[in-house]
């Protein structure tokens, strides 16, 4: 992994001076996110999410497999998130760096462990056939905060995806093609979204750090929350120590921010649905 050269020390001095005045290098205020943009692919379940210059493409696909014997009613959700050198030269194809492991584990926890997708709804024929969803993430460019971008790309792709309608007669399974029957959306309990905050020596936290801000920061905290005011995952690994009050403050900010992001996602999905004809004659 080619170690990225640290920025000159004047960058950190300037960044801290700017933050002390509540300003950031790209004109944002501390708790403001970069512009969020969604680009929908032609296939259902293929969405690219962009926060500022950071871009992640999420692709959902489904296949029918035999379930595990001790869990006959449950389908599967596999998440494949390898960060390649496409995102930035510090990531290598083979060995996964620490930051990549952190991102992969956090995505795993926030989507799979919190049961965002109802896996029992994926059951077709108990013990015989269940749906296996495969969510593949391609990290296109990293200009800071890959995690939030990836988590939003995943959730919107899962919401955008439709699986073919399936009919079971006795133990015979008929899969209807999109022309015959309208494909069916997934059963999604809640929408967990990641929010990453960066901390600097005794300065208020900033939301959605850029690449420069995350290299120079003294610690980050990621909280995954959903619109029902629930914390799904919280991960503060090291960095400057925070008081309980600091963490609670950040969590409260997270609640409104997540509602905001869910609204943006639904609007984008709505706009895409109008422009796409799914209904069948």
């Amino acid at each position: 992994m080619v170690r990225e050269v640290d920025p000159p020390s004047i960058q950190k001095d300037f960044l801290l001076a700017a933050l002390a005045e509540g300003k950031r290098l790209d004109g944002r205020i501390p708790l403001e996110q970069r512009k969020i943009e969604f680009i929908f692919g032609d296939e259902l379940g293929n969405v690219e999410c962009r926060i500022g210059k950071t871009a992640v493409l999420a692709q959902v696909s489904a296949s029918i497999v035999k379930p595990r014997d001790d869990r006959p009613y449950e389908g599967f959700l596999m998440i494949n998130s390898e960060i390649g050198p496409m995102a930035s030269s510090i990531y290598e194809n083979g060995r996964s760096s620490d930051s990549e492991v952190l991102i992969t584990r956090l995505l795993e926890k926030s989507i799979r462990r919190t049961e965002a997708i109802d896996r029992e709804a994926l059951c077709i024929l108990a013990g015989e056939k269940v749906w296996q969803l495969r969510l593949t993430l391609h990290f296109l460019s990293d200009s800071g905060n890959l995690l939030d971008c990836a988590s939003m790309a995943s959730m919107i792709a899962l919401k955008h995806f439709r699986k073919p309608d399936v009919e079971v007669i006795g133990d015979e399974v008929i899969i209807h093609s999109p022309e015959e029957r309208a494909p069916v959306p997934l059963a999604i309990h809640h929408t967990p979204l990641c929010l990453t905050f960066a901390y600097f020596e005794n300065l208020p936290p900033i939301l959605d750090p850029t690449h420069l801000e995350s290299t120079l920061c003294a610690g980050t905290l990621t909280v995954t929350m959903n619109a029902q005011r629930e914390i799904c995952v919280l991960s503060k690994a090291g960095g400057t120590p925070l008081s309980a009050e600091d963490i609670m403050g950040v969590v409260r900010v997270g609640v409104d921010q997540v509602r905001e992001m869910v609204k943006i996602m639904d609007q984008a999905l709505e706009k895409d649905r109008e422009s796409r004809v799914i209904e069948v004659q």
Partner: protein, 261 residues
């Protein structure tokens, strides 16, 4: 989720291992348990035993990694195959989880170890889980703190760590493996003097209002752990210091005295 196979809290208010909600598992802290490491410790909390040995600060293996103004910290986490008891669920899925625990430990201790005192050198922390019954990360962090103290490396303060669960509205402290599987589980570690949190990890869904209560309870528990650890450290240090001054006893009464057994 399938109905919990065991009773988390029976009506008498006791947990499945007969502890009260706020009661910690029995702990045993031992220093200098590794013969050749600069610093080492073995910590047992309940049935979870972790041994940490620290080598360094020493010459880094690859000089390309060395940083010119501070020490670099490498953490390796290993679990012995029989840690989780024969058979049963394979507790640790592959090395991704271990790598994550290793990264958490490294990031937790990076701001606390005064690395600027040891430029261009490397501190290697080996964490070996000997038996796992829940709370691997908290026990590893407590063991690493003691190992650092025993190695004489300068640190700002003790870091103690604890896991906190929630059963309906009742928070539980220091979860065992079974409780960890079924309950929402928050792990925190904090600097006891300044009451600041250096690590906070939570995996399952939890409402915000409960979160604050668990956070403060965890801080309280960390203080108790620290007091306990400090007792042990001071006890052991007294023995060592006493031995260090034994020579003065010889020179003061060089005459052949007989000391009865």
């Amino acid at each position: 989720m399938s109905s919990s196979r065991i009773e988390i809290l029976n009506d008498g208010g006791l947990r499945h291992d007969a502890r009260r909600p706020y009661e910690l598992r029995s702990t045993s802290f031992q220093l200098n348990t590794h013969p050749t490491a600069e610093g080492s410790s073995t910590v047992t909390q309940g049935l979870t035993t972790v041994q940490v040995s620290i080598f360094g600060p020493r010459e880094p293996r690859q000089r390309s990694q060395a940083s010119h103004d501070k020490a670099i910290i490498n953490v390796e986490v290993g679990v012995v195959p029989w840690a989780q008891g024969g058979g049963g669920i394979k507790r640790v899925r592959g090395d991704k989880r271990l790598q994550e625990i290793g990264a958490s430990i490294r990031q937790t201790f990076e701001p606390v170890i005064m690395t600027h005192l040891y430029p261009r050198s490397e501190i290697t922390i080996n964490v070996q889980v000997l038996s796992a019954d829940g709370g691997i990360l908290p026990t590893s962090i407590n063991a690493t703190t003691l190992a650092l103290i025993s190695s004489g490396i300068s640190i700002l303060d003790y870091i103690t760590s604890i896991s906190i669960g929630l059963y309906l509205k009742q928070p539980l402290l220091d979860l065992s493996f079974l409780e960890e599987q079924d309950l929402p589980n928050l792990i925190i570690s904090c600097l006891t003097n300044s009451n600041k949190i250096t690590l906070a990890q939570m995996e399952t869904r939890l409402h915000i209002d409960r979160f604050e209560e668990m956070l403060n309870l965890g801080l309280e528990a960390c203080k108790v752990l620290k007091i306990e650890m400090e007792l042990i450290v001071k006890e052991q240090t007294e023995k060592i210091v006493e031995r260090m001054n034994v020579k003065s006893i010889i020179s003061s009464n060089a005459s052949g005295m007989n000391i009865d057994e």
